[in-house]
Amino acid sequence: KNVKGQEILNKEISININQGQIKQILAEIQQLTSVNFVYSSTVIKAQRKVSVNAVNKRLGQILDETLNPLNIYYKVEDNQILLYEKENTGLLSANQNLITVKGKVSSDKGESLPGVSVNIKGTKIGTTTDSNGSYAITAPGPDVTLVFSYIGFTAKEIPLNGRTVLNVQLIEELTSLGEVVVVGYGTQRKKDLTSAVAVVNVGEMIKQPTSSVNNLLQGQASGVTVLGSGQPGEEPQVRIRGVNTFGNNNPLYVVDGVPTQSIADLNPNDIETMQVLKDAGSASIYGSRAANGVIVITTKKGKGKVTVTYDAYYGTQRPKGGNVWNVLTPQEMADLKHMAMTNSGATDFADSLYGSGPTYVLPDYILPAGAKEGDPRTNPSLYKLKPFYTSDNEYHSFYRISRANKQGTDWYHEIFRPASITSQNVAITGGSDQGNYLFSANYFNQQGTLINTYLKRYTIRSNSQYNISKRIRVGENLAYSITNNPKIAGLSGDNAIGHAFREQPIVPVRDIMGNYAGSYGGNLGDAYNPVAMQERTRDNKSQQNRLFGNIFAEADLTDFLTLRSQFGGENYSGATRAFVYPTYENAENSTLNSYTESALDGYNYSWTNTLSFNKTIDKHRIKAVVGTEFFKDYTHVSTGTNQGYFSFDPNYTNLSTGSGPMKTTSARTSNTLFSLIGRVDYSYNDKYLLGVTIRRDGSSKFLEHVYGWFPAVSAGWRVSQESFLKDVKWITDLKIRGGYGIMGNQLNVSGGNSFTTFGSAVGTSYYAIGGGNNIVSGFYQNQTGNPGAKWEKNINSNFGFDATLFGGHIDISADYYRKNIRDLLYNPEMIGTAGAAKVPFVNIAQMKNNGFDISVSGNTQISSTVKLNATATITTYHNEIQKISGGSDYYDVDSRRFDGSNIIRNAVGHPISQFFGYKVDGFWNSQQEVDAANQKAQAATGNPGDVYQTDIGVGRFKYADTNGDGRITADDRTFLGNANPNYSYGLNLGVTYKNWDFSAFFYGVQGNSIWNQVKWWTDFNPSFGGAKSKTALYDSWTPQNHNAKAPIQETANSFGTNAVPNSYFVENGSYLRLKNAQIGYSFNSVKLQKIGINKLRVYLSGANLFTITKYSGVDPEIGTSSETGQQTAYGVDDGSYPSQRTFLLGLNLSF
């Protein structure tokens, strides 16, 4: 027995188990001492029951007393205790043929396994492998069978068949029941979970090429809905079990025990585990921040000898090809214009561009409008333009000459180009009983397919732990990131993408002198040149820096009491600068130049102190934790803008070099939380499980109701432990569980909510009281206070089961939940007579949610070389608003171009984000139909002047009279579609064949609607005179084509076509997408090990390879639009930044 072994055996522990299985006793000791037992269950007969009762006894003594009577002995090797049954050498007779068998045991990943029990079946002969995984054993004959067993691996029996060398690969055990899961303020064995916790398979998750952990989460965890876009660095919308509040619905993230609202800069390669806490039982220990769900992440720790891993990929992102928006050619645009004028009864067809003939002819020039080749007005010597002009007078003197692009400019592909993506990650890890460390560095660079959008990010991380003594550990987990991420505001018809489907194809990108061309000159709509828009952002910069992490100290007071103090948080800063250039090429130009600089900084920290108790007494296992937590959050932002620059040189422009007016603003906010935490997990005989948590939060955001209590209780019953199921072979483990509790929310209120305040703001309360251009500061009431606001309460019940079937080949976890959200904070619009001061949040609204989360995974080995695995997750949620405010049972959002009528109505009795408007019921196919309808309306109202429908006309939409009053009024508007899917699902498939591995990940949503606002721009001729679609020309209503898609094309907006929200824009948003497919090859590790390489794998990967959908837009994945910024309004596609097809070549290397 070596010294270290002696140390382990001298450890004093207390243990008290009556008639427990040896297996259970060993597990308990393992837990108390972190010593590993290695044994073969066949030899040890671990199911045997014994009693052990020891208080502060040496481990060695306990083992002697407990095991020796059973003829079990032990020896210590490294940090492991190997158990064996004493050989009865007497059984070996001299005339038996003794053979020495040697070999090596390794894992299916090629790592050598030390401490594996090697036994000869039917005898008591056994040994264990050494630190290199090698063994030697003496067999009584050539026909015996060797049994190899090792904790966490499936035991293997191999007939010797006369061999003397037998190398064995053990396969990791399938069941994850022993897996330890990180939950709020502690850990739990997966089999002990009584609440709804989704454990993410991090290895599968990080196969996709994105920097964002939130994007990676899509489809990987049941109960989580993620909606993203193709824009680098744009964080997706993450919803855990649907929408929980009218405001901020983002979950709380807890990274290495530190709560935060953002993981945008977290390096996916650093993640060790990721758990989603979905119900009150698991999440309400986070109290007032739990209601949106909690995502708990731990980052990697080092272990074993020094290892360097290098993971890298490089790839290309390919934008969609073809005529993406189905845009007309310039000649077709002219034809459409002619057709619309004819339809609108024009008699004079004179057009400055296309002439006045019976058909329109494309000009050679758009500026001067309509000019032909040889026109003296197109003489280049007349051309005058200074792109960086600084005065209106210069602007007025310009003479522009621009050719017509008769073939048509493909604006989509002018702004979307193939782009590169790369990630380079290095990690160095190691550890011993003195501590462990991980250092990693990541460089991520994703160029956007949209020009001048990209994400460049540098991250470094250092995680270390120092074991100061046997009982005291200190350490830190720290990450620092630098992010450069210029983005556009998504899903808005007014960004470059919007202008790309609005700008007419006859407009070239550049004029005859290489300056930008555009819609200048009239008759070409009012769109901007989108290439110019994006190129002018070239010198705009933004940088964010963030330090995030914690330092901690942990002391084992006794064997069952551990005290932990942790100080964690983040400190961040960021700066942006942007220059707005004057324009000259568009129909509507801004002659202004301006420069804006902004800086933000802030910090938040949590100081967490916990005392944990962990003890097993007999069949009672108790884990408990109590603690306190203090949280403080502070932010500061300042912005300055100046105008009137005489030079646009990026080295010259700063806030002081403009000529004014200059505007500066700044703001600071801070808030604090103080919390008491308690949790108890109890299990009896591994069969009956109970979890109780409680948290009291005190928040500085509330005045009269500072404190809130958030309790939860959950219970589980491992039915499979009952005798009546013990014999059902195919049920390996089955647990039924349920929970109830309250989670809180306070994200939607600011600290100022309680107070009525007065302020002063340029542009709101300044007046030129002395005349001239000087304005003088005044006050106005900027906020009405509500001192009575309190916590939102999310009352949650959850029922579910976890099943492991067929020895771990199939795992199922399913949950049903209900959430009743009470005291929902809402700032109902105040009646106008109260003035315009900011309305405070009051606890007035109510909402409910229910749904199922299911995850199923399976794996099987088809042959010794082919293995399959699959995981499917399904998420459903049904959301219903029950109350909005005393005065109103709905609120509308998102008017887009409908001038006051909104697309989305959030109404009582309906889910959040439903589309609302008139239902299209075909077309008016003839004047007779129109007259008949009008007569009916007149009969219904008794007014001979009435019409059935405003702007009624042949070829226009016929709206459904949903209330049956004989005419179309605002009351006929109805719910047209739901942005929330019936369900969403993810499917991971994996196959390994020898050294090859193949995986695929599918994601889909089913049953949601999308509002395709792009059609408003392209399918209706009068919509701002921009580019139009083939649908408008070839599939619109004409006297000959009654079976059309779009209505008659006219020159003016009308109620019967594009002036009001109607069902024309609503489409089925279901889709199924192959998000990722990967094929990898791992090189033979034995050969590589000779040159010091543990692992070398190369792979090819493709993302977003295909999408099956009926949706006609570019990408059916549509989240929250920048235009409303409201989290209760989503699913409106006004030109998305689509996810692009991506091809990668990657490498995983470790040595």
């Binding site: 004079d348 004179a350 209106d392 007078n393 000159g521 009239g522 009012d526 509507e588 801004s590 002659t591 202004l592 301006s594 007016p661 200059m662 505007k663 007065f758 302020g759 002063s760 340029v762 542009g763 709101t764 309360s765 300044y766 007046y767 030129a768 009281i769 002395g770 005349g771 001239g772 251009n773 000087n774 304005i775 003088v776 500061s777 005044g778 006050f779 106005y780 009431q781 619009e829 105040m830 009646i831 106008g832 007579t833 109260a834 003035g835 315009a836 005393g886 005065g887 008017s895 001038d899 006051g900 009528s901 405003t950 605002a970 009068p1022 701002f1024 005179g1025 003016a1052 907006n1053 002036a1059």
Partner: protein, 562 residues
């Protein structure tokens, strides 16, 4: 800043400035106070007063700001966003003045004399906001500084409250103020008299108008008078002039987020396309309006009823390349300060080019707005180019002295003193006839900044009504001449619709306008004014919905809008 910190002299004075700021009706970032788009809350009433009154077409193109079309054509319903935007901006103004009065009562460091001056201004401003509310909606809730439940039913008697406020101001404000932006006794007097006139209390109105005309001075002490030149009213360099009775003091380039204090609500109203202004081609003077500037070539007087028979020649349908000679007949010189006409100097921007500066001629007609346009030579100080469309430092004159004279003329005519009425009208016409104030051709058409020749830009002829004309032809004639003069003198200044309604001739006049203009431009083809309904706008549906108490809605809709 919390409530305690404003209950003192400095705080109350700052709240008072904040109340003046509400005159702009804006809150920055091109939004009206309360959050609507800037043009909804414009204090100039270019939509509710001028377009709805037939002064102007909406202009631009049909697809831009389509919500104005139903207002211009009188078929809008209560959901139209313009109503809610305007309502909220005006009630925020009311709310700010109420806060002044509320904290004035709490402040202890203000003398009673100072208090009267503060209260006088606050109540003047409150009465102004309510005057607007009353003009637009007839009945609306009355909220003053004593009211804590803001969900009040509509009051049928806003006039009593409005006149009470103006009266208080008239009786308590000094004749002059240290800063020209502050209202004085005489502004209050003029507005009080105007309120009486709206109530058809002609005698009460006349009594005060007489004093105001005889003794009124501006806040800086200048005796009320007409400016020598008509266009002085629209030039920032001439501000603080004797014609300014109640002015919203506009300032350019004060807020980088947009021309918040510089006619933000009117920033769409600049010529389009190739024009130097960038955007957006709204607010085009109607053909009907321009025709009213025709004068009889012998008398120099207008054709009070048959003006459209003598239509002014325009360039509808005539392309940019084609030749065009402007109208050669006799015209009132104010025409060329009111409308941009092809071939006529457009301030110092060059001759107005016609179609090239118009977004859709077939929709909005051939003319461009002019009174709200700044000059090229003073653009550096007068134009506000802080955002995508311009603002300007041109003050908006809520009441100018010409307005006072014409209102007083109505009172006189109603009282039967037609000779005095004619004197007032002639005083206004005499100023228009001042040749110093006409538009002249450029010295060099290609260099408009180099000044004007002495050749009038058109064949101007204008005369005063001959002595005894009103008295001879009687009250009805006198009134129609006064109404006509008011139309052309104050055209495009936001008054017309409200004048038509209070005169009781809106149905006749506007339907005649639709019949005429609707044949020429497509924007008002659907126009139809319904008497008994369209005199007032609908109370915004949103506000009615928000007025729910128990199960009933406290606010009641105006007749004809349910």
């Amino acid at each position: 800043v919390s409530e305690e910190l404003v209950a003192n002299k400095n705080g109350v004075n700052a709240l008072l400035i904040g109340s003046y700021a509400a005159l702009y009706g804006m809150q920055g970032n091109n939004q009206s106070l309360g959050g609507g788009e800037a043009w909804q809350g414009s204090p100039s009433n270019w939509v509710f007063g001028s377009i709805a009154g037939g002064d102007a077409s909406k202009g631009s193109a049909g697809s831009d700001q389509p919500a104005i079309d139903p207002i211009a054509n009188f078929y809008s319903d209560a959901n139209n966003a313009y109503y809610n935007g305007k309502w909220k901006a005006l009630y925020e103004g009311v709310s700010r003045t109420n806060n002044v009065l509320k904290f004035l009562a709490k402040a202890t460091d203000i003398t009673p004399e100072e208090g009267k001056v503060i209260a006088g201004q606050a109540r003047f401003l409150r009465a102004h906001f309510y005057f607007e509310i009353r003009k637009l909606w007839n009945k609306a809730p009355w909220i003053d500084e004593t009211i804590t439940d803001f969900n009040q039913p509509v009051s049928a008697d806003l006039w009593a409250k409005i006149t009470e406020d103006f009266k208080f101001s008239y009786e308590n404000l000094p004749g002059t103020q240290g800063e020209i932006g502050r209202v004085n006794k005489w502004a209050a007097g003029a507005y009080l008299a105007k309120s009486y006139l709206y109530q058809r209390k002609y005698a009460e109105a006349k009594a005060i108008f007489d004093i105001v005309i005889a003794s009124g001075v501006t806040s800086s002490g200048k005796k009320y008078d007409l400016n020598p030149s008509f266009e002085d009213n629209f030039m920032p360099s001439k501000e603080n002039n004797p014609e300014e009775v109640f002015t919203i003091q506009m300032a350019a380039n004060a807020d980088p987020s947009g021309p918040t204090s510089g006619n933000n609500g009117d920033m769409l109203n600049f010529p389009y396309g190739g024009s130097p202004f960038g955007c957006c081609g709204f607010f085009q003077p109607s053909i009907d309006l321009v025709n009213r500037f025709r004068t009889n070539e012998t008398t120099g007087l207008p054709y009070l009823t048959s003006y459209n028979d003598y239509a002014v020649k325009n360039d509808m349908g005539i392309g940019g390349g084609a030749e065009f000679t402007p109208d050669q007949g006799t015209l009132d010189p104010r025409i060329d300060w009111t409308a941009g006409r092809r071939g006529v100097p457009y301030l110092d921007w060059g001759n107005y080019p016609g179609a090239a500066w118009i977004r859709d001629q077939s929709y909005g007609g051939p003319y461009g707005p002019k009174k709200n346009i700044y000059w090229q030579k003073t653009a550096a100080t007068d134009a506000d180019k802080t955002t995508w469309a311009p603002g300007s430092a041109i003050n908006y004159l809520v009441i100018r002295f010409a307005d006072v004279l014409l209102l007083a003329a109505e009172c006189e005519a109603q009282a039967g003193s037609l000779t005095v009425a004619q004197q007032y009208v002639n005083r206004v016409r005499a100023r228009a006839a001042n040749k110093e104030g006409w538009v002249y051709k450029y010295k060099d058409d290609s260099k408009p900044m180099e000044g004007f020749s002495d050749v009038p830009a058109a064949n101007y002829k204008i005369s005063e009504y001959p002595a005894g004309d009103f008295a001879g032809k009687g009250q009805a004639y006198a009134l129609s001449a006064i109404y006509y003069e008011r139309k052309i003198e104050l055209a495009m200044e936001g008054h017309r619709f409200f004048d038509l309604v209070r005169w009781g001739i809106a149905e006749k006049e506007l339907n005649a306008y639709f019949d005429y203009q609707g044949k020429l431009t497509s924007d008002v083809r659907r126009g139809r004014f319904t008497a008994g309904r369209n005199e007032y706008y609908p109370i915004p549906q949103r506000q009615i919905d928000l007025s729910i108490k128990g199960n009933t809605k406290v606010l009641t809709q105006n007749p004809g809008y349910n």
